[in-house]
Symmetry: C2
Subunit: 251 residues, 2 copies
């Protein structure tokens, strides 16, 4: 067990992008050695099977615009057929934890063992509404992701406005998640952001990412941050990811 944890830790030490681990942990049934280890954790007694808190569910800090958009997309995650049956809709809400480790089965347990104080940059503040409030929805048919992002007062750059780095952080998060969903393990290679107009603190904005093309290991994505009605463009971004194999990490 200790050896397995040590090995997993070494793998993490070699991870090269935010997005890689997301995929790694969202595919616990992979036949790789990491997958085997994750299955071992899954066989542990029930206290280790607890689900971590999902930060992408509504809380009391969400304003009317955030709630309206959440309900708009969430209502399309399950649709009713003509004969009254419920089935999956075009959109899927993605959960969000305060460590990427927690995407693994048994992740809460892992999180207590490995650098237990560490927290995901976008989920490192407990006070609801103070920093990043966001929820991601994925549309696999359209190869699109949409994040609804409500900007808290702790993300300030120029007085009353969002820091450019906080916007870059959301862009990295949303495109990275989509690249990993589409192509498996990836690393971020390039982030090229054009800033068009500032975002006032307290705003709710949309962060939309889409796949442009793939060329061998290269995955080209685009991302726009806009006002919720789409009329104002805040940033336009192209991102390049590189697809990698899990085995590449182990040797």
């Amino acid at each position: 067990m200790a050896k397995s944890v040590g090995r997993l830790f070494k793998v993490f030490q070699r991870l090269r992008s935010l997005t890689l681990i997301k995929t790694l942990l969202s595919h616990p049934s992979t036949s790789s050695p990491v997958g085997t280890f994750v299955r071992t954790i899954a066989e542990l007694p029930s206290p280790f099977m607890l689900k971590p808190r999902d930060f992408s569910l509504p809380n009391s800090s969400w304003g009317p615009e955030m709630m309206r958009l959440y309900e708009h997309y969430n209502s399309q995650c399950e649709v009713e057929t003509e004969d009254g049956e419920k089935r999956e809709g075009p959109w899927r809400r993605l959960p969000s934890y305060n460590r990427l480790l927690k995407y693994a089965t048994g992740g809460l347990y892992l999180s207590k063992m490995i650098q237990s104080k560490a927290r995901l940059f976008t989920r490192n503040i407990r006070e609801p509404g103070a920093a990043f409030e966001y929820v991601l929805f994925a549309n696999s048919e359209q190869k699109r992701c949409v994040a609804i992002f409500q900007v808290g007062h702790l993300l300030e750059g120029p007085p009353g406005h969002v820091h450019g780095g906080a916007i870059a952080t959301m862009i990295d998060t949303v495109t990275g998640t989509q690249a990993a969903l589409l192509c498996g393990p990836v690393v971020t290679a390039n982030l090229n952001i054009n800033y068009r107009s500032p975002i006032p603190l307290g705003s709710t904005v949309l962060v939309e990412s889409s796949l442009d093309k793939t060329e061998g290991r290269k995955i080209f994505m685009s991302c726009k941050v806009t006002s919720t009605d789409g009329s104002k463009v805040h940033t336009e971004t192209s991102v390049l990811f590189l697809s990698i194999s899990i085995s590449h990490l182990l040797f």
Copy 2:
């Protein structure tokens, strides 16, 4: 007074980049209307003249590498001439507050009046060592800025490593500060980051920015994030800023 504050607030609402306000507030003697207002604040009684806490001074969380580099640059901020006199050295340590508003004379007072809960994204966590620990030094002759950056456990992306957005945030901060020092008020127009190798949590790294060229209103900067001995390159970035006039903000 209330009218002046209202006007200043409107100015802030129109600011387009992190770096703009830094310059605005670091030039309180400018002859613009904002400068006039800042001078008015400077004439208020002493409670309004209190200096805010400078976050770029050493604290108990700074490790040996952070301290060694801090002392290396800090010792070059003041040099002794041959006849024993002390004078300014080639480097200058730049102060850092938890709101850009606080760069203004009377900034503590302003900060209590305008969106008082807001905090600068890189200084929004009170616990020393938990997030961004950094100090900037500027070398005006070489047109270079160096930040020593110690990465806290709340900046996690992949387990045990720094989030790409946290790196982008530091790059925006360092290049933006230098652009504003060199050219006055600027807005960030483009941030183009190549990620080369991941940064483990707890590391101390160097963030070095330099001016490439200016073309009219355009300011082209470069930024490298490396290990402290320079042997490992973590990111390479080009950034474009646009110079703007303060009067542009007022109408």
